[in-house]
Amino acid sequence: MSTASPANDHAHDHDHDHDHDHGPPRGLTRWIFTTNHKDIGTLYLLFSLLMFFVGGTMALFIRAELFQPGLQVVNPQLFNELTTMHALVMIFGAVMPAFVGLANWLIPMMIGGPDMALPRMNNWSFWIMPFAFTLLLSTLFMPGGGPAGGWTLYPPLVLQTGQAFPFVILAIHMMGASSIMGAINIIATILNLRAPGMTLMKMPLFVWTWLITAYLLIAVMPVLAGAVTMLLTDKFFDTSFFNAGGGGDPVMFQHIFWFFGHPEVYIMILPAFGVISMIIPTFARKPLFGYASMVYATASIAFLSFIVWAHHMFTVGMPLAGELFFMYATMLIAVPTGVKVFNWISTMWRGAMTFETPMLFAIAFVILFTIGGFSGLMLAMAPADFQYQDTYFVVAHFHYVLVPGAVFSIMAAAYYWLPKWTGHMYDEKLGQWHFWLSTIGVNVLFFPQHFLGLAGMPRRIPDYALQFTEFNMLSTIGAFIFGFSQLLFAYNVIKTIRGGVKATDQVWEGAHGLEWTLSSPPPYHTFTVAPEVK
């Protein structure tokens, strides 16, 4: 399809090959100039895996410092830099690109489209990322160190950042631009490139959840860009957006940030809902229960995500009416989220289940995400939140929804579609080892943090009072089990890419959908002739 473009397409130099069956060009230029959705999907996924290990290493330093009271491994300044960077790298570098990578690989194959609608922009949106993260990570070595005010960048604290400050802002702008372009591309693809007969209400749920997520991204990434730009002008151009001394308000930053930040939470979980809604029916050998209500629940969650932001700031001293509004609105999210969980369980009900690695991760997702949902409901109660706010209870909550939530869904997706992508079956035994070690590790890591938070341990502290010692030790042990078992995942993925038992086209007995009608691995260009969808 790129051959339809103007003649100065440097990806193809002077070689205008109109034969669609050709393979990819060889060597490094294939990856740098590629406009192929499969190649770009692979790049996104591998980049995200790399960032997962970078962010994970930071987390292990944090947990090592917290193994016992006192300062042992890092100093408090570096500790704060590590917590800040860990969050930025994991959110913007690991989870979001992984879902964009899945979208790139899967959406065209699922809707019967030839590629993404805007292939050159696709290339650009990926290749911004390595530069953005090189810039972000380089700030750790700048005078004054990296950003240490938390990923939420609250002023006035964040304005105390050293020379790294403008570089961090620029890196965030670059990530935002990349996300917005990715989102535009996904919307354009889904709305324009569906095969005849693929009506909106026939689309696989992964496509639906991504369509809604992409709209969330377009709505809120510019809000983040605005917020960080105001920080920049406050720091360098004497504005006072967030400075009370000049008539501004530090709390206004929090309102703007969380207007971005709460939909951002759903940006990281809605595609996960999509993945799980694809995997459970396959391994239950039964159609998804309540397809339409899944779509409506996703849309409701997306809408509600715009009117609940201030539940992140119950303790800033909002008026009573504000607290009540945000408390009620937040509680409402439990309803559509509950519908999703009930639908997944009803899909399993009276199915004929098997428990290959993707299904194991999907089941663990449903259970552990629900536990994160329960603590979320507790956090929604404003008076109780006055106790929970900014403690390890919150840390436990959002890690439950992000790690055995979003990250487990990404792993489930990787195992589920890897045979399709590579043409080889992954090592099932190794996959099961990875699953059990991860699941045990993640619970030993995060479950005790609930107790720590309730007992009074604030988050983001490098050192703690003696009564918190035992649970911190346990948590650190879990962190190392979880962290190192991810090496099994990386090894399994690399092994599968390099070879293995040939996968069939359908791969899984119960799999349905257009991507399973293609060969494994699929040809470089697929659905150049639109398939017929009944």
């Binding site: 300062l71 369980i345 009900w349 005790p448």
Partner: protein
């Protein structure tokens, strides 16, 4: 198969890890749960917390129970033929309506407690709390008593060259002293960055925001020493600005006031880091 044996075995390890954690926790009087606290508000918050907790447990037992029943009985290896049903408007309405009713049941007590927590009228004593990097200043308005409260744990303990004391990181030179049985209004603000004043036994925390004053209140019922920490990341020494509240009987409090006044009279208060809390606190009230 080896894997399922491993799964069972690791499940046992996980379960025993939690039991171990629970039992060591109980032995060392470790907190596993939110403290009930020493005020009527903190007890209401605790009750609310436990109410939601048990509701979540009940929902979890039902939902996960159904799920595990299905996992054990609806397996391909048992030779079951999968059903093909995929919707039921009736059950979908049921499981939308029931959660709504549960939520309303939770919202009512939450609203009541919140309204109570926001009613700071008729306080008998007002203390202004100002957060600094990295210490607290307590200003007894109308009493002309103002002092800083700084971490008193020796740095040797933090650097692991001395044995850590019982109240490691939760001890200060000058605690906040308040009378028991009196409603105390606490105004929080900050001089540099945002801090958050939190004593778990009082049942709440409130952010200390430069340029703004937040109002809270407490009425401590039992004399005692209650410890807390700054809860909002405020820079390098965020972990080292604890809060200690000493609640004393009325008579002892009066004595303490007199003592502080005589001590404070000759030397004017000096603010050592150059920030001026008066200006910082001069903005509008939230």
């Amino acid at each position: 198969m080896g894997i399922s044996r491993f799964a069972k075995c690791s499940g046992t390890i996980l379960a025993s890890a939690f039991v171990w954690a629970w039992s060591t926790g109980a032995q060392a009087e470790l907190g596993l749960n939110m403290p009930r606290g020493v005020t009527s508000v903190s007890r209401e918050v605790y009750d609310l917390h436990m109410l939601i907790f048990w509701i979540c447990v009940a929902i979890g037992v039902v939902v996960f129970g159904v799920m595990f029943w299905s996992i054990f009985h609806h397996r391909k290896s048992l030779g079951v033929v999968p059903a093909q049903f995929h919707e039921s408007t009736f059950v979908e309405i049921v499981w939308t309506v029931i959660p709504m009713l549960i939520l309303i049941g939770m919202a009512v007590p939450a609203t009541k407690t919140l309204v109570k927590m926001y009613d700071a009228r008729d306080a008998e004593l007002t203390v202004k709390v100002t957060g600094y990097q990295w210490r607290w200043q307590y200003d007894y308005l109308d009493q002309e008593i103002k002092f800083f409260s700084v971490l008193s744990t020796p740095s040797a303990q933090i650097r692991n060259v001395a044995t850590k004391g019982e109240h490691y990181l939760l001890e200060v030179d000058n605690p906040l002293v308040v009378p028991v049985g009196k409603k105390v209004r606490i105004l929080t603000t900050a001089a540099d960055v945002i801090h958050s004043w939190w004593v778990p036994e009082l049942g709440w925390k409130k952010d200390a925001i430069p340029g703004f004053i937040n109002e809270s209140w407490t009425l401590i019922e039992q004399p005692g020493i209650y410890r807390g920490q700054c809860a909002e990341l405020c820079g390098k020494d965020h972990g080292y600005m604890p809060i200690v509240v000493k609640a004393v009987p009325e008579a002892e409090f009066k004595e303490w006031l007199a003592q502080m006044k005589s001590k404070n009279q000759p030397t004017p208060q000096t603010v050592t880091n150059g920030s001026n809390p008066q200006i910082a606190a001069g903005g509008k009230t939230l």
